[in-house]
């Protein structure tokens, strides 16, 4: 069975600083996808960034980047130049490359960005 672990329930960072959110996962599959979703207060979850396991290059989306370590089964999210609007719950998620497509989520990290 696949599991996703986020060991940081809460994090805080000052505006303009950099913060890294941790995620580890466990799977025996070789082909899969990893995701970071953001859930602002009272808003729907939105996809922040996605990583295909077969790609060695770490994904980057503007201020968001990941550090994907396949052997260590680690998938951390780095947010550079943090903004107040980055305040949200961040969920790490995993999906096996098959027809089912279900997402397996971690418990989330609540990130607070302070001015």
């Amino acid at each position: 069975a696949q599991t996703v672990t986020q060991s940081q329930p809460e994090m805080s960072v000052q505006e303009a600083e950099t913060v890294t959110l941790s995620c580890t996962y466990d799977t025996s599959e070789n082909n899969y996808y990893l995701f970071w979703y953001k859930q602002p207060p009272s808003r729907q979850m939105i996809l922040v960034i996605r990583q295909e396991a077969y790609k060695q290059q770490n994904a980057t989306e503007n201020r968001f980047s990941v550090n994907f370590q396949k052997a260590a089964k680690s998938f951390s999210l780095k947010i550079s130049d943090s903004q107040l609007g980055d305040t949200a719950m961040y969920f790490c998620a995993f999906s096996v490359l098959d027809n089912t497509d279900k997402l397996i989520f971690g418990t989330g990290t609540r990130l607070q960005v302070f001015p």
Partner: protein, 115 residues
Amino acid sequence: EPEVTQTPSHQVTQMGQEVILRCVPISNHLYFYWYRQILGQKVEFLVSFYNNEISEKSEIFDDQFSVERPDGSNFTLKIRSTKLEDSAMYFCASSALAGGLFEQFFGPGTRLTVL
């Protein structure tokens, strides 16, 4: 920008009552999902639906649960006889196609409270 919508935003019901949670997926999407999040816990997959049938369901999705796409636009989750432990946030999601390359778009959720 197209988005997934869910109604109601909050549903309060008595134990043993039936509830129907409604979702309107993005119009050209073909894959539909329900997830739930018990307060303080991780988001859990319930069921995926494609081509008018369930493609996968989790252990949580027992005989008390059913899904339907009654009219080509709505996607509903019915809980036949609610239990206290069904109290949770229920998220609907849709994607254009299956596979991790295709983003799952989430609705804002319905908070179900069973008294």
